[in-house]
Amino acid sequence: MRMLLFCCAGWLLLIGCYGIVVSRNLIHTVICLVVCQSSTYLILLGIGYRSGGTAPVFSDTSPSTVVDPVVQALCLTDVVVSATVIALFLALALQAHKQHGTVDPDELTSLRG
C-alpha cells in the first residue's frame, strides 16, 4: 500500500513535468504545475496517516488515535496559496499573449541565446 500511494504521487509529479515539457500552450503549462503540486499534498498526507486514526478534531468526540495534524496544516495553507500564485501566472500568460499574439512556448523564441 505504501509504495502504491507514494508511487502515484511520484507519477503525478513526473507526469506534470512531462505536461510542461510537451505543452504547446502556456495555460496548459500552468495547469500542469498544479498537477505537480498536488503530488506534494499526497506525499505529505500519506506520511501523516495513522491506520485506525480519525481526523484530529476534538469538538464533539474525543478520539483515541488521530492522524498527524502537522502535515495537514502544511498542506492546508499551500492549497489556498497556490490558487493565487496560479492566478498570477495566468495573468503573466495573458500578458505574454498580448505582447506576442501567441501562447505557444515554441513560437515565443524571443529569449534565444
Binding site: M1, L5, A9, G16, G19, V35, S39, G46, Q72, A83
Partner: protein
C-alpha cells in the same frame, strides 16, 4: 480503509494524467476540477477534512473558473 485510499489514489493519478493529456484549455478546466474532486476524496479518505474542504473550494471551483475566463480571453483575441 486502506482499500478506499488505494482506489482513490489510483483515480487521482488517472485524473492527473487526464489533465496533462487534454490540450484544449477549456476542456482542461473541466479535467482539472475532476482532479480537484479526486484529491478531495483522497483527503477525506486520509482523514484530512480541513485540506479536503479547501481543495474542493480551490481546485474544483476557483482555479477552473479563472482558467475558463483566461481561455476565453485568449481565444477571442486570436
Amino acid at each position: 480503509m486502506t482499500a478506499v485510499i488505494a482506489v482513490a489514489t489510483v483515480l487521482t493519478a488517472l485524473a492527473g494524467t487526464a489533465v496533462v493529456f487534454t490540450h484544449h484549455p477549456k476542456r482542461q478546466a473541466l479535467t482539472l476540477s475532476m482532479l480537484g474532486l479526486m484529491l478531495t476524496l483522497v483527503f477525506v479518505a486520509l482523514q484530512a477534512p480541513d485540506v479536503a474542504l479547501s481543495e474542493l473550494g480551490i481546485n474544483a471551483l476557483v482555479v477552473p473558473m479563472v482558467i475558463l475566463l483566461v481561455a476565453e480571453k485568449i481565444r477571442a483575441r486570436r
